[in-house]
Symmetry: C2
Subunit: 213 residues, 2 copies
């Protein structure tokens, strides 16, 4: 698949078909993730492939608890809209994937990390985006579930205390790839025009190439 096609048709997917994801496809997607750049070639990531229904159920329970709590932030129409959203496909997705960052990998002095310690986490996120796009090219949907208690998930998957859970992803063949992000389609938020997020030379200075007078 063409890169730009993958970028523009990538979606956060929550509705999955039950067809299994072949190991060979999953390996291609994981290898793409593993070929992201990383600070000091640290490769601080790990991927825990979760397929066991009993494990998925325990993660789902954490999602359900945290989602009930999150819903309390909203009232009235906004609350009704929130409650109408399907925010995770943990049980339906044939593959769940925990993505972690081992912050102590390669010792204390990682090249390039002395000034910005969080670059190991940032590298891990670059790997996740590679994975997300590779999955799209394979016809596989990915949903990022952030509504859960990271410490609970770590305990369930026996992830060491010092390792950070960066993402919990659901993977599977989607019912469909939507035209637009769900939250845009539902009117929850709108896409910011590009000329409002790009500046020239200094913060808040408009770039004439994007905003001709």
């Amino acid at each position: 698949m063409d890169l730009y096609e993958a970028i523009y048709s990538r979606r956060d997917v929550r509705h999955f078909r039950s067809d299994p994801v072949p190991d060979s496809v999953l390996i291609r997607v994981l290898d793409a993730a593993h070929h992201a750049g990383s600070v000091g070639f640290m490769q601080p990531w790990n991927f825990v492939v979760v397929r066991a229904p009993e494990l998925k159920k325990l993660v789902f329970d954490s999602f359900a608890r945290e989602n009930a709590r999150a819903a309390e932030n909203y009232a009235g129409d906004r609350r009704s809209l929130y409650d109408s959203f399907k925010l995770a496909g943990i049980m339906e997705a044939p593959v769940n994937l925990a993505v972690t960052c081992d912050r102590s990998r390669r010792g204390p002095a990682v090249l390039g990390r002395g000034t910005m310690a969080e670059t190991d986490l940032f590298s891990t996120c670059c790997a996740i985006q590679n994975l997300w796009l590779a999955a799209r090219a394979e016809g596989i949907g990915v949903g990022w579930v952030s509504i859960l208690d990271p410490e609970t998930v770590k305990r369930l998957l026996e992830i060491p205390p010092a390792v950070v859970l960066v993402a919990y992803l659901c993977l599977g063949y989607p019912i469909q790839f939507e035209e637009r992000p769900m939250l845009e389609q539902a009117g929850w938020e709108s896409r910011t025009p590009l000329d409002q997020v790009v500046f020239a030379e200094r913060w808040n200075h408009r770039w004439s190439a994007l905003s001709p007078e």
Copy 2:
């Protein structure tokens, strides 16, 4: 360009030709970044396009100071090897790009962020990876400079105190895209085999699809 080709041939580039990057190309690359997913459709990122030589020079000065400090972490052969690395192409790259995350965008209750507050930073990194790959498809190299003082760069670019500098990137047409990452080529670090970063069901449990007995 094919997605997998972009993923496998993307490099962290530090040697640039002086040819300018056309605005139209830069806009395509920035628009690709802006189409990353983000928690609660928050789109917390901004991009400050820096081309003014006097600004680049001041950023370079911060890099030079921090790089001298970082070199002190190494001794002997390792120090000689470190000193031989070109770790940034700030002055040569026709375009520098500061990528930021506004952690307060869309108010205090962003959908999906209540449980994992760092997901706004993580979304910004997904946007950076989109940009990196789109640049590769356009024949443009990107180098991520983490060896600098983020607060100095923020002051130079008038980035508000509450906004986080996530990355400082150099963009331009490269002398060439190397076959392998510089740090691998130089023997500084090696690529971890995939079966050591992927586990099944639980941490440290090998996945039979990758490690047949």
